[in-house]
Amino acid sequence: MDGSARISRRRLLAGSAAVAGGAAAGGLLSGCDAGSSGTSGGSGGAEGTVTLTVMYNNNELTKEHIADFEAKNSGIKVNFLQTDPTRLNAMLAAGNPPDFVRGAAVGSANFNARGLAADLTPYLEKSEVLKKDDLLAVNDSFRWDGGKIGQGAYYGIVKDWSQDATLWYNTQLFDQAKVPHLSDTEPIGYDELLAIGKKLTVKQGGKTKVYGVGLEWAWNVYAPIAMMILQQGEQLYNEDLSETDFTTAAARRAFSWYVDFAQAGVGPTSLDPLPDGADLSTFMAKRMAVSQDGYWYGGNFVKETALQANIRMAPAPVMGDKRISPTYAGQGAWIPSKSKHKDEAWKLMEYFMAGPPAEERAKSGWGLPALKSLLPKLPQDLPYQKQAYQVAQNELKSTGALPDSPYVTIDAWNLGLDKYLQRAIKKQLTVDAACQAITQDINKLLKQGKEQIG
């Protein structure tokens, strides 16, 4: 073998590095392929067929819905992905996002301000199916005008929603504890709720036999605390949503209530959680007297004939003088700004939000519809459904939107609040010190967010 044919170590490494570098650079340019959106007439589809990549929950957008949608839209095939925030992140980072994505209205400001979602207003203005004047106010949380939520362009449409602070309670457990039933029209005060929660709680041998009140702590502490602050007539953020002051009297009172609740052992908390992280199974087992869940919760009891006679819905509790009964989420869908098939995605939006699936959802009672025209379709066949319907209708008068800053996520709020709640509950920090620390932590995140978004 002559010298020229030999491969030197240096040449091999340099060559390999060049290949690797090229591949890496290629990767940066094209992004990681976390599940790409198909192209018109592209591979895997018939000529002229668009493959629409949809990321949703398969128990909400079912196989049957997809088959029906495809049958009605012959040029569109759906590539369905189960909701996966990590995968969505990767797809967004790669610049190749799904065309239709599940997302909540509350908290959407962060996505909208980062330019991730497409403006749906032009589609809404042209649509014969989804009309602007048919949208309930809950959709306003998907609106963003570049400065605040509630006005400006629409960046998503709500599928269904609930007044999530409303209460469901078991009358049998109330009777056993000799606690009067809750009013259907007048909200209970938070302090009174804690007081009756203590009476309703039954402990035996170091175990909690019956929880007085469940707050769905594992799901969200931000939304109820933000609501409590609004109910006291205070604001969570300053005017331009770039700073928070969690040391106000209203914030401290809300935070203290959560600390008192946990220390009283009235319901599950992150320090004393339920094994499945949700109230439902415990409530259905008659081991929880009150569960703070919205109208949607009633959908769980349609087949629970034994339970139906003992359950009722009650208005959202209040802390202060202002009655506000907001949604904590308002799940719906949005179309990424980098979607390559926005027109087709809008067709799915029309079908899913105003077509047969929407009507089906409204009739089932799994949440309130987001369209005015669908409200009369809510179920009232069973006595408990009729009672819940009336409470929900009454609560509509108190609908209000939770604050939403584009510079911080709801997840970050939940993390911060729960971290300091735990320390305050364990008496490692006073309420005042915890509120001070929350203010510092969130303001740091707000500053970082503002710097990024501009």
Binding site: M1, A20, A23, L116, G206, P273, P275, Q452
Partner: protein, 307 residues
């Protein structure tokens, strides 16, 4: 060819064989490392195009981040407990099952079985066992007159994580068993003839003979334990793995903190800086263990330094 000394194979063959590894290393290790380093110099949020270079600001912030340092110290403490227990447990089980027992194959299979169970299934099983109200462990404690313990929150969650880790030590046991079977019997017999008792034989013959394998287990154990992230997330009392906020403080290890920065705070730049620092920390610990091996690892062949 004439100017070279005699070679059995051509250089081309050598490089053809090593090229797949070199390419794999460059593509799957070096390139991601370089990419992560690049990201660590930005304020990239993981999804939008609104990012800019921030220089070493993420690293500077990390040095003052008490949460990150607390998580790192917790991880070191966890590693310092979990790795010695895992290695000692694996050696202990291997010694027990290296005897002439009835149905020894069955016993070995039984002890090995948990290590092939997927981590998700294992975590769910332990969540059920450790459940405060309906778990079998508390039921046993109750029979013994001990009050129920909330295992999956602070401070007990840390011990629950150790239990979960130790449950899979059957994998190490198999490797140790192979090592034990390589120990020459005549050496042990000679020691016994010289009057050594069982412990002295184990301490002065068996352990030195299997020390290279113990060393391997310690090094790989330290690296793997440092990087644990899925187990604390799975053990947390939540119905969603994304619920990183539900991970108790005592099991909030460094990688959990990294996960939180990436997927809760959308701080990919800062998270990448955390990973780079962690890479250096793991490298330092690995070198430390490597260095210490001169004191306690016995090789039957001469090492480079002995030559």
């Amino acid at each position: 060819m004439a100017r070279n000394s005699w070679t059995r194979y051509s250089s081309r063959t050598f490089y053809a064989f090593v090229a797949p590894w070199v390419l794999g290393f460059l593509l799957l290790t070096a390139a991601p490392l370089a990419y992560a380093f690049g990201v660590s110099l930005t304020n990239f949020d993981g999804s939008s195009s609104r990012w800019r270079w921030v220089g070493f600001r993420n690293y500077v912030e990390l040095f003052g981040d008490q949460e990150a340092w607390a998580a790192l110290l917790r991880t070191i403490a966890y590693t310092a407990i979990a790795v010695p227990l895992s290695v000692a447990g694996a050696v202990g089980l291997a010694v027990l099952l290296n005897r002439r027992l009835k149905a020894v194959g069955l016993w070995r299979t039984l002890f090995f079985l948990p290590s092939v169970v997927p981590v998700v299934a294992m975590a769910i099983m332990w969540k059920l066992v450790l459940n405060r109200d309906a778990g079998i462990l508390n039921a046993i404690l109750n029979v013994a007159g001990i009050k129920s313990i909330t295992w999956l929150v602070d401070p007990m969650a840390f011990y629950a994580l150790i239990i979960l880790t130790l449950w899979g030590l059957g994998g190490g046991m198999v490797i140790m068993l192979a090592a034990l079977q390589g120990v020459p019997q005549e050496l042990e017999e000679a020691a016994i003839v010289d009057g050594a008792n069982r412990w002295r034989v184990f301490r002065h013959i068996t352990v030195p003979m299997i020390s290279p394998v113990i060393f391997f287990q310690v090094v790989t154990g330290v690296i793997a334990t440092f990087q644990i992230v899925v187990q604390p997330l799975l053990l947390a009392e939540t119905n969603s793995i994304a619920g990183v906020g539900q991970v108790p403080q005592s099991t909030h290890l460094y990688m959990v903190q990294v996960y939180q920065e990436f997927f809760s705070s959308n701080r990919f730049g800062y998270g990448s800086a955390m990973l780079w620092v962690f890479f250096l920390v793991i490298l330092a610990f690995t070198l430390l263990v490597q260095r210490s091996s001169r004191l306690w690892v016995h090789y039957e062949v001469d090492t480079d330094s002995d030559r």
